[in-house]
Amino acid sequence: MNAWFTLALLLPTVTSFILCSAFWGRSQSLPDWLARAFVSFGVGVGLSSCTFFFGLLSGNRSRTGLTILDALLLAVAGAILLAMRHLGSEDGTPGLQRASPCASLITYLLASPLLVATLISFHYCIRYAAAHPHGTWDSWSIWTLKARFLFRSGAHWRDAFSPVIAYSHPDYPILLPATIDRLWTYLQHEALFVPTMLGFFFMLCTVGLVMSSVAVMRSKSQALLAGAVLLTTPFFVKHAVSADAESPFMFFVLATTVLLIMSDSAPRMLVLSGLTASLAAWTKNEGLLFLVSVITSLAALLFVARGWNACVRAVSLFIVGACPVLIVIVLFKSQVHAGNWLFGPTPNGVSILGRLMDVGRYSMISKYYYREIPRFGEWEISMVPVLVAYFFLMGHLRGLKEKPGLVAVIGALAIASLGYFFVYVITPTELAWQLDTSLNRILLQFWPAAVVVFFCVTRTPEEALALPCARLIVPGMTDQGK
Protein backbone atom coordinates (compact mmCIF):
# COMPACT_ATOMS: atom_id res chain seq x y z
CA MET A 1 0.00 0.00 0.00
CA ASN A 2 1.70 3.19 -1.12
CA ALA A 3 1.54 6.68 0.36
CA TRP A 4 -0.91 7.94 -2.28
CA PHE A 5 -3.31 5.12 -1.53
CA THR A 6 -3.10 5.88 2.18
CA LEU A 7 -3.84 9.51 1.38
CA ALA A 8 -6.80 8.44 -0.77
CA LEU A 9 -8.28 6.63 2.22
CA LEU A 10 -7.28 9.10 4.93
CA LEU A 11 -8.36 12.44 3.42
CA PRO A 12 -12.08 11.62 2.98
CA THR A 13 -12.22 9.86 6.34
CA VAL A 14 -10.86 12.92 8.17
CA THR A 15 -13.18 15.18 6.15
CA SER A 16 -16.27 13.18 6.99
CA PHE A 17 -15.26 12.75 10.63
CA ILE A 18 -15.05 16.53 10.94
CA LEU A 19 -18.38 16.89 9.15
CA CYS A 20 -20.04 14.29 11.37
CA SER A 21 -18.60 15.96 14.48
CA ALA A 22 -20.25 19.23 13.44
CA PHE A 23 -23.71 17.68 13.71
CA TRP A 24 -23.24 14.81 16.16
CA GLY A 25 -24.64 14.94 19.67
CA ARG A 26 -22.11 15.20 22.47
CA SER A 27 -20.17 11.93 22.63
CA GLN A 28 -19.87 10.43 26.07
CA SER A 29 -18.78 6.85 25.57
CA LEU A 30 -16.52 4.63 23.50
CA PRO A 31 -19.45 3.06 21.56
CA ASP A 32 -20.65 6.57 20.71
CA TRP A 33 -17.23 7.51 19.31
CA LEU A 34 -17.11 4.22 17.43
CA ALA A 35 -20.56 4.82 15.90
CA ARG A 36 -19.37 8.25 14.75
CA ALA A 37 -16.19 6.72 13.30
CA PHE A 38 -18.07 4.01 11.37
CA VAL A 39 -20.52 6.56 9.93
CA SER A 40 -17.52 8.72 8.97
CA PHE A 41 -15.76 5.86 7.15
CA GLY A 42 -18.77 5.23 4.91
CA VAL A 43 -19.68 8.88 4.40
CA GLY A 44 -16.05 9.60 3.52
CA VAL A 45 -16.15 7.06 0.70
CA GLY A 46 -19.45 8.50 -0.52
CA LEU A 47 -18.29 12.11 -0.49
CA SER A 48 -15.00 11.30 -2.20
CA SER A 49 -16.95 9.65 -5.04
CA CYS A 50 -18.79 12.97 -5.45
CA THR A 51 -15.53 14.94 -5.67
CA PHE A 52 -14.28 12.37 -8.17
CA PHE A 53 -17.38 12.98 -10.28
CA PHE A 54 -16.60 16.73 -10.26
CA GLY A 55 -13.10 15.79 -11.37
CA LEU A 56 -14.60 13.84 -14.28
CA LEU A 57 -16.85 16.74 -15.26
CA SER A 58 -14.05 19.29 -15.12
CA GLY A 59 -11.55 17.01 -16.86
CA ASN A 60 -9.34 17.28 -13.80
CA ARG A 61 -8.86 13.63 -12.94
CA SER A 62 -5.15 13.32 -12.26
CA ARG A 63 -3.97 12.13 -8.87
CA THR A 64 -2.84 15.62 -7.90
CA GLY A 65 -6.07 17.16 -9.15
CA LEU A 66 -8.13 14.72 -7.09
CA THR A 67 -6.03 15.43 -4.00
CA ILE A 68 -6.69 19.15 -4.42
CA LEU A 69 -10.46 18.50 -4.70
CA ASP A 70 -10.37 16.28 -1.60
CA ALA A 71 -8.39 18.91 0.29
CA LEU A 72 -10.95 21.56 -0.71
CA LEU A 73 -13.71 19.37 0.68
CA LEU A 74 -11.72 19.01 3.90
CA ALA A 75 -11.53 22.80 4.16
CA VAL A 76 -15.30 23.07 3.62
CA ALA A 77 -15.91 20.47 6.35
CA GLY A 78 -13.63 22.40 8.71
CA ALA A 79 -15.53 25.62 7.99
CA ILE A 80 -18.86 23.88 8.68
CA LEU A 81 -17.52 22.54 11.99
CA LEU A 82 -16.37 26.03 13.04
CA ALA A 83 -19.71 27.54 12.00
CA MET A 84 -21.64 24.93 13.97
CA ARG A 85 -19.46 25.46 17.04
CA HIS A 86 -20.05 29.20 16.71
CA LEU A 87 -23.81 28.61 16.61
CA GLY A 88 -23.55 26.71 19.87
CA SER A 89 -23.67 23.00 20.46
CA GLU A 90 -26.85 21.18 21.09
CA ASP A 91 -26.81 18.64 23.83
CA GLY A 92 -27.29 15.14 22.67
CA THR A 93 -28.16 11.93 24.38
CA PRO A 94 -28.36 9.84 21.27
CA GLY A 95 -30.83 7.03 21.12
CA LEU A 96 -33.21 5.37 23.47
CA GLN A 97 -31.07 5.06 26.57
CA ARG A 98 -27.47 5.48 27.58
CA ALA A 99 -25.06 2.59 27.46
CA SER A 100 -23.65 1.73 30.81
CA PRO A 101 -20.11 0.99 31.88
CA CYS A 102 -21.65 -1.87 33.84
CA ALA A 103 -21.09 -5.03 31.85
CA SER A 104 -23.08 -8.00 33.04
CA LEU A 105 -21.97 -11.61 32.97
CA ILE A 106 -24.20 -12.05 29.92
CA THR A 107 -22.05 -9.58 28.00
CA TYR A 108 -18.98 -11.73 28.59
CA LEU A 109 -20.89 -14.91 27.78
CA LEU A 110 -22.20 -13.50 24.49
CA ALA A 111 -18.79 -12.20 23.42
CA SER A 112 -17.48 -15.69 22.64
CA PRO A 113 -20.21 -16.75 20.14
CA LEU A 114 -19.82 -13.37 18.43
CA LEU A 115 -16.07 -13.87 18.17
CA VAL A 116 -16.61 -17.30 16.61
CA ALA A 117 -19.19 -15.88 14.18
CA THR A 118 -16.77 -13.08 13.25
CA LEU A 119 -13.90 -15.49 12.59
CA ILE A 120 -16.09 -17.76 10.45
CA SER A 121 -17.41 -14.82 8.43
CA PHE A 122 -13.98 -13.30 7.84
CA HIS A 123 -12.60 -16.69 6.87
CA TYR A 124 -15.38 -17.06 4.31
CA CYS A 125 -14.86 -13.53 2.95
CA ILE A 126 -11.10 -13.90 2.52
CA ARG A 127 -11.36 -17.25 0.79
CA TYR A 128 -14.22 -16.11 -1.46
CA ALA A 129 -12.34 -12.95 -2.47
CA ALA A 130 -9.23 -15.02 -3.23
CA ALA A 131 -11.17 -17.48 -5.40
CA HIS A 132 -13.39 -14.87 -7.14
CA PRO A 133 -11.49 -11.56 -7.32
CA HIS A 134 -13.87 -10.19 -9.99
CA GLY A 135 -16.86 -10.80 -7.72
CA THR A 136 -20.27 -11.96 -8.86
CA TRP A 137 -21.98 -11.58 -12.22
CA ASP A 138 -23.71 -8.32 -11.27
CA SER A 139 -20.55 -6.81 -9.87
CA TRP A 140 -18.35 -7.24 -12.92
CA SER A 141 -21.05 -6.82 -15.59
CA ILE A 142 -22.40 -3.57 -14.08
CA TRP A 143 -20.26 -1.91 -11.43
CA THR A 144 -16.65 -2.83 -12.21
CA LEU A 145 -17.43 -2.57 -15.93
CA LYS A 146 -18.39 1.10 -15.41
CA ALA A 147 -15.26 1.66 -13.32
CA ARG A 148 -13.16 0.23 -16.17
CA PHE A 149 -14.82 2.53 -18.70
CA LEU A 150 -14.24 5.56 -16.48
CA PHE A 151 -10.61 4.62 -15.84
CA ARG A 152 -9.65 3.55 -19.35
CA SER A 153 -11.57 5.90 -21.63
CA GLY A 154 -10.17 9.27 -20.50
CA ALA A 155 -12.16 12.12 -22.01
CA HIS A 156 -14.69 9.63 -23.43
CA TRP A 157 -15.88 8.53 -19.97
CA ARG A 158 -19.51 9.07 -21.00
CA ASP A 159 -19.19 5.87 -23.09
CA ALA A 160 -19.73 4.05 -19.78
CA PHE A 161 -23.37 5.12 -20.03
CA SER A 162 -23.86 4.36 -23.71
CA PRO A 163 -27.20 2.78 -24.71
CA VAL A 164 -25.11 0.22 -26.65
CA ILE A 165 -24.44 -1.50 -23.30
CA ALA A 166 -27.96 -1.01 -22.00
CA TYR A 167 -27.73 -4.28 -20.06
CA SER A 168 -25.36 -2.54 -17.62
CA HIS A 169 -28.11 -0.05 -16.68
CA PRO A 170 -26.59 3.27 -17.80
CA ASP A 171 -28.97 5.21 -15.52
CA TYR A 172 -27.56 3.64 -12.34
CA PRO A 173 -25.73 6.18 -10.17
CA ILE A 174 -22.00 5.76 -9.77
CA LEU A 175 -20.91 5.91 -6.13
CA LEU A 176 -19.29 2.48 -6.40
CA PRO A 177 -17.68 2.78 -9.89
CA ALA A 178 -16.43 6.29 -9.06
CA THR A 179 -14.90 5.07 -5.79
CA ILE A 180 -13.19 2.15 -7.52
CA ASP A 181 -11.91 4.46 -10.24
CA ARG A 182 -10.74 7.03 -7.70
CA LEU A 183 -8.69 4.42 -5.85
CA TRP A 184 -7.27 3.10 -9.13
CA THR A 185 -6.31 6.65 -10.05
CA TYR A 186 -4.45 7.07 -6.75
CA LEU A 187 -2.77 3.68 -7.29
CA GLN A 188 -2.19 4.45 -11.00
CA HIS A 189 -3.26 0.96 -12.03
CA GLU A 190 -6.34 -1.30 -12.01
CA ALA A 191 -5.73 -3.19 -8.79
CA LEU A 192 -7.99 -6.24 -8.81
CA PHE A 193 -8.45 -6.22 -5.06
CA VAL A 194 -10.15 -2.79 -4.92
CA PRO A 195 -13.80 -3.77 -5.68
CA THR A 196 -13.85 -6.70 -3.24
CA MET A 197 -11.90 -4.69 -0.67
CA LEU A 198 -14.57 -1.98 -0.82
CA GLY A 199 -17.33 -4.54 -0.27
CA PHE A 200 -15.49 -5.96 2.73
CA PHE A 201 -14.83 -2.45 4.05
CA PHE A 202 -18.54 -1.61 3.92
CA MET A 203 -19.40 -4.91 5.59
CA LEU A 204 -17.05 -4.07 8.46
CA CYS A 205 -18.58 -0.59 8.73
CA THR A 206 -22.09 -2.09 8.68
CA VAL A 207 -21.37 -4.63 11.43
CA GLY A 208 -19.42 -2.03 13.42
CA LEU A 209 -22.20 0.55 13.15
CA VAL A 210 -24.91 -1.97 14.07
CA MET A 211 -23.03 -3.00 17.20
CA SER A 212 -21.81 0.41 18.31
CA SER A 213 -25.18 2.08 17.76
CA VAL A 214 -27.10 -0.63 19.62
CA ALA A 215 -24.51 -0.39 22.43
CA VAL A 216 -25.12 3.37 22.60
CA MET A 217 -28.90 3.16 22.47
CA ARG A 218 -29.53 -0.04 24.46
CA SER A 219 -26.76 -2.13 26.03
CA LYS A 220 -23.53 -3.92 25.26
CA SER A 221 -25.08 -7.39 25.48
CA GLN A 222 -27.83 -6.28 23.10
CA ALA A 223 -25.12 -5.01 20.72
CA LEU A 224 -23.39 -8.40 20.80
CA LEU A 225 -26.66 -10.14 19.94
CA ALA A 226 -27.31 -7.74 17.06
CA GLY A 227 -23.80 -8.33 15.71
CA ALA A 228 -24.23 -12.10 16.00
CA VAL A 229 -27.56 -12.06 14.12
CA LEU A 230 -25.99 -10.05 11.30
CA LEU A 231 -22.77 -12.03 11.02
CA THR A 232 -24.60 -15.35 10.99
CA THR A 233 -26.79 -14.32 8.07
CA PRO A 234 -25.04 -16.27 5.28
CA PHE A 235 -26.48 -14.12 2.47
CA PHE A 236 -25.18 -10.94 4.15
CA VAL A 237 -21.67 -12.37 4.51
CA LYS A 238 -21.68 -13.66 0.92
CA HIS A 239 -22.62 -10.23 -0.40
CA ALA A 240 -19.84 -8.51 1.49
CA VAL A 241 -17.16 -9.60 -0.94
CA SER A 242 -19.32 -9.93 -4.03
CA ALA A 243 -18.13 -6.45 -5.12
CA ASP A 244 -21.61 -5.24 -6.05
CA ALA A 245 -23.44 -2.17 -4.80
CA GLU A 246 -25.56 -3.94 -2.16
CA SER A 247 -22.86 -3.65 0.48
CA PRO A 248 -22.53 0.19 0.37
CA PHE A 249 -26.28 0.56 -0.13
CA MET A 250 -27.02 -1.50 2.99
CA PHE A 251 -24.56 0.64 4.91
CA PHE A 252 -26.16 3.95 3.90
CA VAL A 253 -29.69 2.69 4.68
CA LEU A 254 -28.39 1.54 8.07
CA ALA A 255 -26.58 4.83 8.76
CA THR A 256 -29.75 6.79 7.91
CA THR A 257 -31.71 4.55 10.28
CA VAL A 258 -29.25 4.94 13.16
CA LEU A 259 -28.95 8.71 12.73
CA LEU A 260 -32.73 9.13 12.56
CA ILE A 261 -33.16 7.18 15.80
CA MET A 262 -30.40 9.20 17.45
CA SER A 263 -31.93 12.46 16.22
CA ASP A 264 -34.69 12.06 18.82
CA SER A 265 -32.44 13.76 21.33
CA ALA A 266 -30.06 15.59 18.99
CA PRO A 267 -32.12 17.01 16.09
CA ARG A 268 -29.02 18.27 14.28
CA MET A 269 -28.26 14.68 13.41
CA LEU A 270 -31.13 14.88 10.92
CA VAL A 271 -28.69 16.76 8.65
CA LEU A 272 -26.35 13.76 8.69
CA SER A 273 -29.31 11.46 8.22
CA GLY A 274 -30.27 13.38 5.07
CA LEU A 275 -26.67 13.14 3.86
CA THR A 276 -26.51 9.35 4.27
CA ALA A 277 -29.95 8.88 2.67
CA SER A 278 -28.80 10.91 -0.34
CA LEU A 279 -25.63 8.81 -0.53
CA ALA A 280 -27.89 5.73 -0.69
CA ALA A 281 -29.56 7.39 -3.69
CA TRP A 282 -26.09 8.03 -5.19
CA THR A 283 -25.35 4.31 -4.79
CA LYS A 284 -28.47 2.78 -6.37
CA ASN A 285 -31.70 4.11 -7.86
CA GLU A 286 -33.60 2.34 -5.07
CA GLY A 287 -32.01 4.91 -2.77
CA LEU A 288 -34.24 7.63 -4.24
CA LEU A 289 -37.28 5.60 -3.17
CA PHE A 290 -35.75 5.19 0.29
CA LEU A 291 -35.04 8.94 0.51
CA VAL A 292 -38.63 9.82 -0.39
CA SER A 293 -39.91 7.19 2.07
CA VAL A 294 -37.89 8.70 4.91
CA ILE A 295 -39.08 12.24 4.16
CA THR A 296 -42.70 11.08 3.89
CA SER A 297 -42.58 9.08 7.11
CA LEU A 298 -40.75 11.79 9.07
CA ALA A 299 -43.07 14.54 7.86
CA ALA A 300 -46.28 12.57 8.50
CA LEU A 301 -45.22 11.42 11.94
CA LEU A 302 -43.99 14.77 13.20
CA PHE A 303 -47.01 16.60 11.76
CA VAL A 304 -49.37 14.27 13.63
CA ALA A 305 -47.34 14.03 16.86
CA ARG A 306 -45.82 17.49 17.23
CA GLY A 307 -47.50 19.81 14.76
CA TRP A 308 -46.61 21.80 11.69
CA ASN A 309 -43.57 23.71 13.02
CA ALA A 310 -41.74 20.61 14.28
CA CYS A 311 -42.50 18.88 11.00
CA VAL A 312 -41.12 21.74 8.87
CA ARG A 313 -38.01 22.07 11.06
CA ALA A 314 -37.13 18.37 10.97
CA VAL A 315 -37.80 17.93 7.26
CA SER A 316 -35.80 21.09 6.48
CA LEU A 317 -32.79 19.80 8.42
CA PHE A 318 -33.04 16.46 6.61
CA ILE A 319 -33.29 18.10 3.18
CA VAL A 320 -30.37 20.47 3.94
CA GLY A 321 -28.24 17.38 4.57
CA ALA A 322 -29.47 15.64 1.43
CA CYS A 323 -29.15 18.64 -0.93
CA PRO A 324 -25.41 18.56 -1.81
CA VAL A 325 -25.47 14.95 -2.98
CA LEU A 326 -28.89 15.39 -4.62
CA ILE A 327 -27.34 18.15 -6.72
CA VAL A 328 -24.60 15.71 -7.76
CA ILE A 329 -27.25 13.14 -8.70
CA VAL A 330 -29.16 15.70 -10.80
CA LEU A 331 -25.91 16.70 -12.51
CA PHE A 332 -25.11 13.05 -13.21
CA LYS A 333 -28.55 12.33 -14.65
CA SER A 334 -28.32 15.44 -16.84
CA GLN A 335 -24.95 14.27 -18.21
CA VAL A 336 -25.93 10.70 -18.87
CA HIS A 337 -29.31 11.18 -20.60
CA ALA A 338 -30.25 7.57 -19.93
CA GLY A 339 -33.93 6.84 -19.56
CA ASN A 340 -35.12 4.67 -16.70
CA TRP A 341 -35.88 1.21 -18.07
CA LEU A 342 -38.62 0.69 -15.47
CA PHE A 343 -41.07 3.00 -17.19
CA GLY A 344 -40.76 1.54 -20.69
CA PRO A 345 -43.19 -0.97 -22.22
CA THR A 346 -42.71 -4.73 -21.86
CA PRO A 347 -41.25 -6.68 -24.83
CA ASN A 348 -44.84 -7.61 -25.82
CA GLY A 349 -45.97 -3.98 -25.65
CA VAL A 350 -47.89 -3.83 -22.34
CA SER A 351 -47.87 -0.26 -21.05
CA ILE A 352 -47.17 0.78 -17.45
CA LEU A 353 -50.92 1.33 -16.92
CA GLY A 354 -51.68 -2.15 -18.20
CA ARG A 355 -49.19 -3.62 -15.75
CA LEU A 356 -50.67 -1.62 -12.87
CA MET A 357 -54.16 -2.96 -13.71
CA ASP A 358 -53.03 -6.59 -13.89
CA VAL A 359 -54.28 -8.26 -10.67
CA GLY A 360 -52.28 -11.40 -11.41
CA ARG A 361 -49.04 -9.47 -10.92
CA TYR A 362 -50.09 -8.38 -7.40
CA SER A 363 -50.94 -11.95 -6.50
CA MET A 364 -47.65 -13.30 -7.85
CA ILE A 365 -45.55 -10.67 -6.04
CA SER A 366 -47.39 -11.32 -2.76
CA LYS A 367 -46.67 -15.04 -3.07
CA TYR A 368 -43.00 -14.37 -3.70
CA TYR A 369 -42.80 -11.99 -0.69
CA TYR A 370 -44.50 -14.62 1.50
CA ARG A 371 -42.09 -17.29 0.31
CA GLU A 372 -38.92 -15.19 0.37
CA ILE A 373 -39.19 -13.27 3.66
CA PRO A 374 -38.46 -16.27 5.91
CA ARG A 375 -35.57 -17.52 3.79
CA PHE A 376 -33.83 -14.59 2.08
CA GLY A 377 -30.89 -14.77 4.50
CA GLU A 378 -30.11 -18.35 3.37
CA TRP A 379 -30.21 -19.43 7.02
CA GLU A 380 -30.17 -23.09 7.97
CA ILE A 381 -32.97 -22.31 10.42
CA SER A 382 -34.95 -19.23 9.38
CA MET A 383 -34.09 -16.38 11.74
CA VAL A 384 -37.39 -14.57 11.08
CA PRO A 385 -39.58 -16.87 13.26
CA VAL A 386 -36.67 -17.19 15.73
CA LEU A 387 -36.59 -13.42 16.14
CA VAL A 388 -40.38 -13.23 16.44
CA ALA A 389 -40.29 -15.86 19.22
CA TYR A 390 -37.36 -14.05 20.87
CA PHE A 391 -39.32 -10.79 20.81
CA PHE A 392 -42.31 -12.35 22.59
CA LEU A 393 -40.12 -14.13 25.14
CA MET A 394 -38.04 -11.06 26.01
CA GLY A 395 -40.78 -8.42 25.81
CA HIS A 396 -40.59 -4.95 24.33
CA LEU A 397 -39.93 -1.40 25.35
CA ARG A 398 -42.76 0.94 26.19
CA GLY A 399 -42.94 4.59 25.36
CA LEU A 400 -42.21 4.30 21.65
CA LYS A 401 -44.55 7.22 21.03
CA GLU A 402 -41.95 9.47 22.61
CA LYS A 403 -39.39 8.28 20.08
CA PRO A 404 -40.49 9.82 16.75
CA GLY A 405 -37.14 9.03 15.12
CA LEU A 406 -37.55 5.33 15.79
CA VAL A 407 -41.18 5.31 14.66
CA ALA A 408 -40.23 7.32 11.55
CA VAL A 409 -37.62 4.70 10.68
CA ILE A 410 -40.16 1.89 11.02
CA GLY A 411 -42.55 3.90 8.83
CA ALA A 412 -39.85 4.63 6.25
CA LEU A 413 -38.85 0.99 5.96
CA ALA A 414 -42.53 0.02 5.57
CA ILE A 415 -43.14 2.70 2.90
CA ALA A 416 -39.98 1.73 1.02
CA SER A 417 -40.99 -1.95 1.11
CA LEU A 418 -44.40 -1.02 -0.27
CA GLY A 419 -42.62 1.06 -2.91
CA TYR A 420 -40.53 -1.93 -3.93
CA PHE A 421 -43.74 -3.93 -4.26
CA PHE A 422 -45.06 -1.41 -6.78
CA VAL A 423 -41.73 -1.31 -8.60
CA TYR A 424 -42.20 -5.03 -9.18
CA VAL A 425 -45.75 -4.36 -10.38
CA ILE A 426 -44.50 -1.96 -13.07
CA THR A 427 -41.28 -3.74 -13.99
CA PRO A 428 -41.23 -4.33 -17.77
CA THR A 429 -39.03 -7.45 -17.62
CA GLU A 430 -40.47 -10.91 -17.06
CA LEU A 431 -41.90 -10.70 -13.54
CA ALA A 432 -41.04 -14.21 -12.29
CA TRP A 433 -37.44 -13.84 -13.47
CA GLN A 434 -37.16 -10.39 -11.90
CA LEU A 435 -38.49 -11.66 -8.56
CA ASP A 436 -36.33 -14.78 -8.65
CA THR A 437 -33.16 -12.80 -9.27
CA SER A 438 -33.67 -9.74 -7.08
CA LEU A 439 -36.19 -10.11 -4.24
CA ASN A 440 -33.74 -11.71 -1.82
CA ARG A 441 -31.25 -8.87 -2.46
CA ILE A 442 -33.98 -6.27 -1.99
CA LEU A 443 -34.90 -7.78 1.38
CA LEU A 444 -31.24 -7.97 2.35
CA GLN A 445 -30.82 -4.23 1.70
CA PHE A 446 -32.97 -3.43 4.76
CA TRP A 447 -31.73 -6.29 6.93
CA PRO A 448 -29.02 -4.43 8.95
CA ALA A 449 -31.42 -1.53 9.54
CA ALA A 450 -34.17 -3.96 10.56
CA VAL A 451 -31.78 -5.68 12.99
CA VAL A 452 -31.00 -2.34 14.67
CA VAL A 453 -34.70 -1.45 14.92
CA PHE A 454 -35.48 -4.92 16.29
CA PHE A 455 -32.88 -4.73 19.04
CA CYS A 456 -33.90 -1.18 19.87
CA VAL A 457 -37.50 -2.17 20.56
CA THR A 458 -36.74 -5.50 22.27
CA ARG A 459 -35.74 -5.65 25.92
CA THR A 460 -32.09 -6.31 26.66
CA PRO A 461 -31.06 -9.64 28.25
CA GLU A 462 -30.30 -7.82 31.51
CA GLU A 463 -33.81 -6.35 31.58
CA ALA A 464 -35.48 -9.61 30.62
CA LEU A 465 -33.51 -11.64 33.15
CA ALA A 466 -34.02 -8.93 35.78
CA LEU A 467 -30.33 -8.87 36.63
CA PRO A 468 -29.24 -6.36 39.28
CA CYS A 469 -26.93 -4.68 36.80
CA ALA A 470 -29.86 -3.89 34.52
CA ARG A 471 -31.52 -2.02 37.33
CA LEU A 472 -28.51 0.26 37.42
CA ILE A 473 -28.31 0.91 33.73
CA VAL A 474 -31.90 1.67 32.94
CA PRO A 475 -33.11 4.23 35.42
CA GLY A 476 -36.68 5.22 34.82
CA MET A 477 -37.18 2.81 31.96
CA THR A 478 -40.49 1.06 31.75
CA ASP A 479 -40.86 -2.30 30.13
CA GLN A 480 -43.46 -4.89 29.57
CA GLY A 481 -43.81 -8.35 30.98
CA LYS A 482 -43.26 -7.69 34.67
Binding site: R127, A228, T232, T233, V386, Y390, L393
Partner: protein, 137 residues
Protein backbone atom coordinates in the same frame (compact mmCIF):
# COMPACT_ATOMS: atom_id res chain seq x y z
CA UNK B 1 -55.92 -31.48 45.32
CA UNK B 2 -55.07 -27.82 44.71
CA UNK B 3 -54.01 -26.80 41.19
CA UNK B 4 -50.33 -25.96 40.74
CA UNK B 5 -49.61 -22.34 41.52
CA UNK B 6 -46.17 -20.84 41.63
CA UNK B 7 -47.36 -18.52 44.43
CA UNK B 8 -47.76 -21.57 46.69
CA UNK B 9 -44.05 -22.25 46.41
CA UNK B 10 -42.54 -18.78 46.02
CA UNK B 11 -43.80 -15.35 47.04
CA UNK B 12 -45.57 -13.51 44.18
CA UNK B 13 -42.64 -11.16 43.42
CA UNK B 14 -40.16 -14.04 43.37
CA UNK B 15 -42.34 -16.19 41.13
CA UNK B 16 -42.66 -13.26 38.72
CA UNK B 17 -38.89 -12.92 38.61
CA UNK B 18 -38.51 -16.68 38.17
CA UNK B 19 -40.89 -16.68 35.18
CA UNK B 20 -39.20 -13.67 33.62
CA UNK B 21 -35.81 -15.28 33.95
CA UNK B 22 -37.07 -18.55 32.50
CA UNK B 23 -38.57 -16.73 29.53
CA UNK B 24 -35.46 -14.60 29.08
CA UNK B 25 -33.13 -17.60 29.26
CA UNK B 26 -35.29 -19.51 26.78
CA UNK B 27 -35.23 -16.52 24.43
CA UNK B 28 -31.47 -16.16 24.64
CA UNK B 29 -30.85 -19.87 24.11
CA UNK B 30 -33.19 -19.86 21.11
CA UNK B 31 -31.41 -16.90 19.53
CA UNK B 32 -27.91 -18.23 20.18
CA UNK B 33 -28.91 -21.66 18.82
CA UNK B 34 -30.42 -20.07 15.69
CA UNK B 35 -27.28 -17.99 15.11
CA UNK B 36 -25.06 -21.01 15.70
CA UNK B 37 -26.93 -23.08 13.11
CA UNK B 38 -26.58 -20.31 10.52
CA UNK B 39 -22.90 -19.79 11.31
CA UNK B 40 -22.39 -23.47 10.54
CA UNK B 41 -23.91 -22.85 7.12
CA UNK B 42 -21.50 -19.95 6.47
CA UNK B 43 -18.58 -22.21 7.39
CA UNK B 44 -19.81 -25.01 5.13
CA UNK B 45 -20.21 -22.58 2.24
CA UNK B 46 -16.53 -21.73 2.40
CA UNK B 47 -14.78 -22.37 -0.90
CA UNK B 48 -13.26 -25.86 -1.05
CA UNK B 49 -9.51 -26.07 -0.48
CA UNK B 50 -8.84 -27.14 -4.08
CA UNK B 51 -10.65 -24.16 -5.63
CA UNK B 52 -8.11 -21.69 -4.24
CA UNK B 53 -5.25 -23.02 -6.30
CA UNK B 54 -6.84 -22.36 -9.68
CA UNK B 55 -8.29 -19.15 -11.11
CA UNK B 56 -12.05 -18.92 -11.68
CA UNK B 57 -13.60 -18.67 -15.15
CA UNK B 58 -13.66 -14.88 -15.22
CA UNK B 59 -9.95 -14.67 -14.32
CA UNK B 60 -9.08 -16.84 -17.32
CA UNK B 61 -11.37 -14.96 -19.73
CA UNK B 62 -10.24 -11.56 -18.51
CA UNK B 63 -6.55 -12.33 -19.02
CA UNK B 64 -7.31 -13.61 -22.54
CA UNK B 65 -9.28 -10.48 -23.47
CA UNK B 66 -6.55 -8.28 -22.00
CA UNK B 67 -4.19 -9.59 -24.71
CA UNK B 68 -6.77 -8.85 -27.41
CA UNK B 69 -7.68 -5.36 -26.19
CA UNK B 70 -5.01 -3.40 -28.18
CA UNK B 71 -6.37 -4.82 -31.43
CA UNK B 72 -10.03 -3.89 -30.92
CA UNK B 73 -10.91 -0.50 -32.42
CA UNK B 74 -12.09 2.26 -30.10
CA UNK B 75 -14.39 5.20 -30.74
CA UNK B 76 -16.84 3.05 -32.71
CA UNK B 77 -19.27 0.24 -31.98
CA UNK B 78 -17.82 -3.20 -32.70
CA UNK B 79 -20.07 -6.16 -33.46
CA UNK B 80 -19.59 -9.25 -31.33
CA UNK B 81 -20.13 -12.59 -33.03
CA UNK B 82 -20.14 -15.66 -30.83
CA UNK B 83 -18.74 -18.96 -32.01
CA UNK B 84 -21.12 -20.59 -34.47
CA UNK B 85 -23.33 -23.23 -32.94
CA UNK B 86 -23.20 -21.72 -29.46
CA UNK B 87 -26.71 -21.42 -27.93
CA UNK B 88 -28.10 -17.88 -27.65
CA UNK B 89 -27.90 -17.80 -23.82
CA UNK B 90 -24.24 -18.77 -23.82
CA UNK B 91 -23.52 -16.26 -26.57
CA UNK B 92 -24.99 -13.48 -24.44
CA UNK B 93 -22.84 -14.58 -21.50
CA UNK B 94 -19.74 -14.53 -23.71
CA UNK B 95 -20.70 -11.09 -24.97
CA UNK B 96 -20.95 -9.71 -21.42
CA UNK B 97 -17.58 -11.10 -20.44
CA UNK B 98 -16.04 -9.81 -23.70
CA UNK B 99 -17.40 -6.31 -23.01
CA UNK B 100 -15.98 -6.46 -19.49
CA UNK B 101 -12.59 -7.58 -20.71
CA UNK B 102 -12.40 -5.20 -23.67
CA UNK B 103 -13.81 -2.01 -22.13
CA UNK B 104 -13.72 0.84 -23.15
CA UNK B 105 -14.46 -0.63 -26.59
CA UNK B 106 -18.19 -0.70 -27.16
CA UNK B 107 -19.41 -4.10 -28.31
CA UNK B 108 -22.87 -5.02 -29.53
CA UNK B 109 -24.48 -8.32 -30.35
CA UNK B 110 -25.11 -8.35 -34.10
CA UNK B 111 -23.38 -8.13 -37.45
CA UNK B 112 -24.23 -4.69 -38.80
CA UNK B 113 -21.03 -2.83 -37.87
CA UNK B 114 -17.94 -1.50 -39.60
CA UNK B 115 -15.72 -3.70 -37.40
CA UNK B 116 -16.38 -7.02 -35.75
CA UNK B 117 -14.94 -9.39 -33.19
CA UNK B 118 -15.65 -13.02 -33.83
CA UNK B 119 -14.97 -15.89 -31.49
CA UNK B 120 -13.88 -19.07 -33.22
CA UNK B 121 -12.78 -22.48 -32.05
CA UNK B 122 -9.16 -21.40 -32.62
CA UNK B 123 -9.42 -18.06 -30.85
CA UNK B 124 -10.77 -14.66 -31.83
CA UNK B 125 -10.75 -12.61 -35.01
CA UNK B 126 -10.88 -8.83 -35.17
CA UNK B 127 -11.81 -7.66 -38.63
CA UNK B 128 -13.60 -5.13 -40.81
CA UNK B 129 -16.01 -5.50 -43.68
CA UNK B 130 -13.15 -4.89 -46.10
CA UNK B 131 -10.56 -7.29 -44.79
CA UNK B 132 -9.79 -9.45 -41.83
CA UNK B 133 -6.85 -9.84 -39.51
CA UNK B 134 -6.89 -12.59 -36.96
CA UNK B 135 -5.40 -12.49 -33.53
CA UNK B 136 -5.52 -15.71 -31.62
CA UNK B 137 -5.93 -15.49 -27.89
Amino acid sequence: MQPFNMDNILPKQQSGTFLRRTRGTAGLLLLVFGCGASARLVRENTIPEGALGRPDGMMVLDSRYAKLRPFVPQGQVVCFLAESGVPRENAVGEYYSAEYGLAPSLLTLGSNCESFLELTSQGACVGTRFGESCETF
